[in-house]
Symmetry: C2
Subunit: 470 residues, 2 copies
């Protein structure tokens, strides 16, 4: 089944003319007119310009470009906001970059079916604002609010509320997708159940733009919970904090979110935001949210959890029940990534996910690596769902030292996550940067299967080549 | 990519010897020793014996059989309880049937990760009993409790509680799968988030045994809701009943289940069970359940919904808050399929799913078909999730008349569901019986993609051939 053709056609004047005839000059960018932004995402160190960057406004345009590229063997990469962290939207082989950010219309709110139909370029922050104004709720809550929903679907983004509500995939009811050959297909729809053949919708979710280009999305919504409350719980050390999480899960309470954070990261966020966190005197914290419609239920839940935490060694329990107090805690949490980044010259991250009762072991291991490799490592993340973001900081290392240490540390971390029955990525994807590690973890038979699926969609391998399983 | 080989090897004495050497004589059945049950599922009219039926007890045995069958080009079908309704487990091409019902061990309850690991042959009824004894909850609730969990995963079974809790896929965290070539792979795991390559787990869910054989399943559990209540709400006619459902959804209440039923079906169930339903005086009913942990919240929810129903023309609202009263209503609901079957000589069913606000239109259409074709049609189902079960009854028709009418009626119904932006199957699958209708609805490009995915897993097309997309 190996039909991969690696000799792509280099874009020439005729190809550019095709694009200009289709889209008009003002939507086709080549050479020096392509902004540097389009040569990379948020991953450092991997950069490549497309030969042409085009702005599209509908599925028909995407379809015509794909049909042309397919016929002429030109590589194509789709791009949203470019907030990815693993190089998924970097056009490694050049070719055409399809910029979907102008396809940013919310098309329909259907309150009888509780669905929202939208174009892929709508920003996450705009979805939240829109649905909440209708007393509705789109639960997935990844930290990067300027990401597009198309990007979120493509990486199956997770976010803070996965503990209670699940991830992006769980809220995708239907997709319109342009295949590599230009065909426009619809997978799923407004329907709630579906057992009509293989779930192509679920295959597209998380496929990082390698199987098709998403041009329309139907999301499932929930009623907006009427009340929520956050608890900030200081612990004497990180181990005690994280070890409490499986006990919370076992207690049959269902928090919306359980985040863990350490003092250094909080201090960095205070510095970065120029405002104080409610408390920074302890070594480690859990930050929990509970939501629901009944004050009584939320109180019963969080009181039980507060008791468990105190019993496990928590130093205090701060309750944030006003919007203002919640904002002060969560805005700091939202700034962690940027805040840590601001303290160093360069950094790279690991986004492993492990079973929830193995988080403490994994974090302890990364702390040990810090000493072993004499390097700063910062971690925070979703203790409640086992998804940990670990940042390795370059600081004053030379490029050579940095690359060597980074590679060795990643090897150690991903090996550890395998040992703990985890996976390479909880929510950021594999893209270009993490391929080595899924190949190692999954082995040949598994990766051959993925590659065969890629070829089932894209026999000429023109769509986002060199990613995920290649 | 067409690599399908249709000339299968016919099982001979050597092949049987291989199976006996592997499993022992007492687990290999051939010829007249194969019980009639194994030649069909619950779908009438499609029947074929395997050449050998074997009982397996672990993944290694399945792997060895598949590797042998792959090498020798022998078709293989996996089978659980055989409660399917579309012929998915009928061995159309003969060959080996792998009976997984003896792999029925619950392997591990992990309360820190809220997961249950089990073998595919565990029955749905045994899962419910087991987890509830630990104060935990496996939400999917398909009507047929003697189905195996492997079968449920393979059809992505839905059930009554999909309105609030979703379907089987939403509770599958991990799978161990034997590929057609005998390789044993693990997809997913105990992890809550996963963005590590294509979601092969989600592809296996709902693939009706055509891509691999499931040998282990990790399910996600929830805390058991502490309270539940059912409402039985009579309406003067079905249209008024079903038209109320989108208004309930729009009201932002979240019932656990919303079923609709008609008087004739209730009478049949009373006759079948030999006991009375709480009320049978009205033409049509909605049956709703609410669950949660707080009595106040449930009451607030159901009072709002009761008000909506009364405003929309409901004749009364019967509240069942004791186990006994709930049992009397839901046991009748559980018996509908068998009860309707008992009133006729033969029947076939349609399991379409439409957007929730189109259910009334679809049911009205099937009622019109009843007159148009002069045939009895009975329907009931999941008004809250748009999944309708429509039964066409043979009664005294000759085989010839029956086949003709059935085919014409199915053509009409599936056409109608397409017009309403529905899908062929909400939860029973495509199997052998419904292939024609997904081909018609999805078209060539879509089905070619499915077929390519099938070949990515099964290049020799030996696993459950002639199903879903062939």
């Amino acid at each position: 089944m190996e039909m991969c053709v690696k000799k792509y056609k280099k874009l020439d004047d005729n190809d550019v003319k095709f694009l200009v005839d289709l889209l008009g000059e003002e939507r086709v960018f080549t050479g020096e007119n392509i902004n540097d932004d389009y040569s990379h995402d948020e991953l450092g160190g991997v950069s490549k310009y497309p030969d042409a960057m085009v702005e599209v406004s509908n599925a028909q345009e995407v379809s015509k470009i794909m049909a042309y590229a397919y016929k002429n063997n030109i590589p194509v990469v789709a791009r949203g906001s470019g907030t990815g962290l693993v190089g998924s939207s970097v056009p490694i082989e050049g070719g055409i970059m399809i910029n979907l950010t102008k396809m940013n219309n919310i098309l329909e709110l259907d309150e009888e079916n509780l669905t929202l139909t939208l174009e892929p370029g709508v920003l996450l922050m705009d979805i939240a604002k829109f649905v909440e104004s209708h007393d509705l709720f789109y639960p997935p809550d990844p930290g990067e609010k300027s990401a597009t929903i198309g990007g979120n679907v493509s990486t199956n983004a997770g976010g803070m509320r996965a503990v209670k509500y699940g991830v992006t995939r769980d809220y995708v009811r239907g997709l319109e997708v342009v295949l590599p050959n230009g065909a426009i297909l619809e997978f799923g729809g407004k329907i709630v159940k579906n057992s009509s053949g293989y779930s192509l919708k679920d295959l597209i979710c998380g496929s990082e733009g390698t199987l098709g280009i998403i041009t329309k999305i139907i999301l499932k919504l929930l009623p907006l919970p009427k009340k929520s409350i956050s608890l900030l719980i200081p612990f004497p050390n990180l181990d005690k904090a994280i070890s409490t999480v499986p006990k919370i899960i076992k207690s049959k309470s269902v928090p919306t979110a359980i985040e863990f954070m350490q003092r250094e990261v909080i201090l960095a966020a205070e510095e970065f935001l120029g405002k104080k966190f409610p408390d920074n005197s302890s070594d480690a914290y859990l930050l929990l949210t509970f939501d629901g419609n009944s004050k009584e239920q939320i109180e019963a839940d969080y009181e039980k959890v507060a008791d468990i935490c105190l019993k496990e060694g928590a130093l205090d329990v701060y309750i944030s029940d006003t919007d203002e107090r919640k904002e002060s805690v969560w805005s700091a949490r939202g700034a962690f990534l940027e805040a840590v980044k601001a303290t160093t010259t360069d950094m790279d991250e690991c986004d492993v996910v492990v079973p929830r009762n193995r988080v403490a072991e994994f974090v302890k291991y990364t702390n040990d690596l810090q000493k072993q490799f004499n390097i700063r490592i910062r971690s925070f993340g979703h203790a409640g769902d086992g998804n940990i973001h670990v940042y390795i900081l370059k600081d004053k290392l030379s490029d050579e030292e940095w690359n060597k240490k980074l590679s060795d540390i990643f090897d150690c971390m991903y090996k550890k996550s395998e040992d703990l029955e985890g996976a390479v990525s909880g929510e950021h994807g594999i893209g270009y940067a993490k391929k080595k590690y899924i190949f190692r973890q999954y082995g040949d038979e598994y990766m051959k299967l993925m590659k065969n699926i890629k070829l089932a969609f894209d026999p000429k391998n023109i769509l986002n080549p060199d990613k995920v399983c290649e």
